[in-house]
């Protein structure tokens, strides 16, 4: 499975947040889609960020 790119994932996530803040009339179905999409992105991004953090900690330990 291809790993998510953190930067592009974050951009997508922020676009979803913007969408909710911008919308005046809530389209429930579309709103639901955005929520689901956001939830998937959040999960993937958190996982990927954790991986990067662990990798970073290992490198840091080696350097120190």
């Amino acid at each position: 499975m291809k790993k998510i790119d953190i930067n592009s994932g974050l951009k997508k996530l922020e676009a979803i947040a913007d969408w909710f803040e911008r919308e005046e009339s809530v389209d429930v179905e579309k709103g639901m889609e955005k929520v689901k999409e956001g939830a998937v992105l959040i999960k993937e991004l958190r996982g990927r960020l954790k991986e990067v953090e662990n990798e970073f900690k290992e490198i840091k330990a080696e350097l120190e």
Partner: protein, 376 residues
Amino acid sequence: MNLDIKDSELVLTVSQFLDSVNYVLTTGRPFVVGEVSEFKLTDKWVSFTLQDKEEKAILKCVMGIWDFRRIGLEIEDGMEVKVGGSPRITKSYGSFALWITSVEPVGEGSLKKAYQLLLKKLELEGLFTRKRELPDFIQHVGVISSRDGVVVHDFMNNLKPFGIKVNFLNARVEGKDAVEQISWAIKFFNKKMPELDAVVIIRGGGSLESMQAFNNEILCREIFASKIPVVAGIGHDVDVPIACLVADVSVSTPTAAANLINSSWDRLLFGLPAVADRIVGYMNSIFVNFEALSERIIGDGLRSISLSIERKADIINRVERIIKIADPERSLRLGYSLTTDSRGKIIRDIKNIKKGDIIKTLLANGSIESIIDKIK
């Protein structure tokens, strides 16, 4: 020829008589010492008169020009010389002369005179001005000297262990054969080993007389003709042997010649530590720079990455809160509802509806359709 002669008499023609005399004369090869006068040099001959100092006695001497050139000696009137050759009467002139094959100065005065004459001659020809530099890092030399002397050992013992290859040719460095043997050795090295870095001619010190080979024109010209640079390591007192002046580099002892060869490596010996220092300095600077770079990576870089991760996590958390709050289902689950008109448009303003309109109310688990009875 009819000759009226008695049986007991031996009567010869002039030619026969002179042949007989010459036969007797040429059985010996005397050496004669005397002072030169009436010295003449022509295209074919060299002639002079040799006379005693004490007694009035003269001897005509003749020598072929090529023989004279081969001897490599400058002669002028007043010089005392020792000549060797065959006495002979020239039949066509009836003249007696010593046909010489060797001539050498005798006595310090004559030796010095010969030295000065050759010195002046070769200086005018420019044989002392051409000086070729020895190459750096000499690796291969041809040495010419007598194997019987200690000078070769002095030379070899003083060569430093740079792996210098030495080819040795034995040659007399004194006496009548010295010029020929040294000249031959120079020729040999030039012809057979042109790759040599230098030809080194060495011998110890000695009197002016014993140094005659090195004050000889033939040898001097052979040194000048050498395509390989020539180093002369010849001991001497006052008068520098002329061969040393012709050589590309001249030092006064065989040991000095070895040191000269050694010095071709100086640039490596003395230059290498300096280069090594520069390399070490350069490497140190690399390490220092690396330390600084490491510090930047570990310090600034790692902090920056750590901060970036935190920021990204913050963004995720912030968006998550927004999505949670904005989630329509969550609002409905909390008891809120959405009311739309018959076309499904969300009713936000009371002015957009009237009594009797059918409206739809969306709840968490279903919807309700209603008719408006009263508007307040």
